[in-house]
């Protein structure tokens, strides 16, 4: 399947304002009808990838995180650590069925590893 960048996430200090900004700028749609109340962003485009907006904690920074899709999150987290990465958030089973983890690469840049729930696999 390869390991594509399958999702992006904006960590925003003011997520409502960020959502409104991108909706106004690009006409993107934002949906929160999921169990985390996660702002899922649909770019309404034929190409590219969709993303989401998550609240940044007060002690954190606003940033964009990329998520790479894999077939086994735990295995890739382990592999990443052997290559010098650090785990920020160990693998979690999200309420809607996706699985994800967040790690820091060797440059200290955070990125996510994700596995979509079965019904969403193959959809970017």
């Amino acid at each position: 399947m390869g390991n594509p960048v399958a999702h992006w996430q904006i960590l925003a200090k003011k997520p409502d304002e960020a959502a409104a900004f991108y909706q106004a700028l690009f006409g993107w749609s934002v949906h929160t009808a999921n169990r985390l109340g996660y702002r899922e962003v649909d770019t309404n485009a034929d190409g590219g990838i969709d993303g989401g907006i998550w609240p940044s904690p007060p002690e954190g920074n606003a940033m964009v995180t990329l998520y790479v899709e894999v077939d086994d999150v735990a295995r890739y987290v382990k592999k990443a650590t052997t290559l010098g990465a650090k785990v920020v958030m160990p693998p979690q089973q999200l309420p809607d069925g996706d699985e994800m983890a967040v790690i820091l690469d060797v440059e200290g840049i955070p990125f996510g590893i994700m596995r979509r729930r079965a019904s969403r696999r193959g959809t970017a």
Partner: protein, 265 residues
């Protein structure tokens, strides 16, 4: 042959220093007459320098890693991996104060925001629903504030999303580093007291020791009985509430006993 490279050691060594240490140990095990001096000769350095490198007393420059790799005839991939590892270690060492400061801020927030403890206690309820919107509604919080708190709990290893339908408050981790130690401290503190930012009703006869408060999952059928007991002994009250045959609500015990939930879970 003493000078050959053990592919197993090469594969599992995370950095050049570990690789050199294990290679030297393996060679000495195979040939008791093999020495640090002999290894240093092969590497083109002197034994005291090599000794300092092996003990972590001397930094490993990139050019030194390249030279050692060449002398040992390591594959380029291994050389590059060791160079990346060394650079990463240096970066982590250089950024340690900043990371520690940020960890301190996170820890402070973890302890000062009542939601963390309340969320952990909510997971113990039979009625718990792994849904940030439900948690926010029950705690009278916003979904964003709830998600930030949930994420912080996940980062500190205090909470785990174990399946799509189950979140688990988990035991403190065994500390293996400074970060791990602080995380373990953070993990234990909620069991002591959670400081609530919400305004508290004042009462003139409260002793200083009674200012400590905590948030617990309770059997709400016992609340009236608990109120009668709480002036006698706080410990007894907590025991009563937490040993019921079910936990169906979350209350904060301070001067008064009030639910932190705004709606019944």
């Amino acid at each position: 042959m003493t000078g050959a490279i053990d592919p197993d050691i090469l594969e599992h060594s995370g950095d050049m220093r570990a690789f050199l240490r294990e290679t030297l140990a393996a060679r000495c095990a195979r040939n008791p007459r093999y020495s640090l001096r002999a290894f240093a000769r092969q590497l083109g350095t002197d034994h005291s320098t090599l000794s300092q490198i092996l003990r972590g007393r001397r930094p490993l420059a990139v050019r030194t890693i390249a030279r050692f790799s060449e002398k040992l005839r390591l594959p380029d991939s291994a050389r590059d991996r060791f160079i990346v590892a060394e650079r990463t270690q240096r970066r982590h060492a250089a950024s340690a104060p900043a990371r520690l400061e940020r960890l301190g801020r996170e820890l402070s927030t973890l302890l000062s925001d009542w939601r963390h403890f309340a969320i952990l206690e909510l997971t113990r309820l039979d009625a718990f629903t792994p849904d940030s919107r439900w948690i926010a509604r029950v705690l009278g919080s916003t979904v964003d504030d709830t998600n930030v708190a949930v994420q912080r709990l996940l980062r500190f290893g205090l909470l785990q999303m174990t399946s799509a339908s189950s979140w688990t408050a988990i035991s403190p981790v065994v500390p293996v580093s400074l970060d791990g130690f602080l995380e373990a401290v953070a993990a234990r503190l909620p069991a002591l007291h959670a400081v609530d930012g919400r305004p508290q009703p004042a009462r003139g006869d409260v002793r200083p020791g009674d200012r400590a408060e905590t948030t617990i999952a309770v059997d709400s059928r016992r609340v009236d009985q608990a109120i009668e007991l709480m002036d006698r002994c706080r410990t007894d009250v907590i025991r009563l509430l937490t040993t019921g045959d079910r936990k169906d609500d979350v209350y904060r015990l301070s001067i008064s006993l009030v639910p932190v939930t705004t709606t019944k879970p």
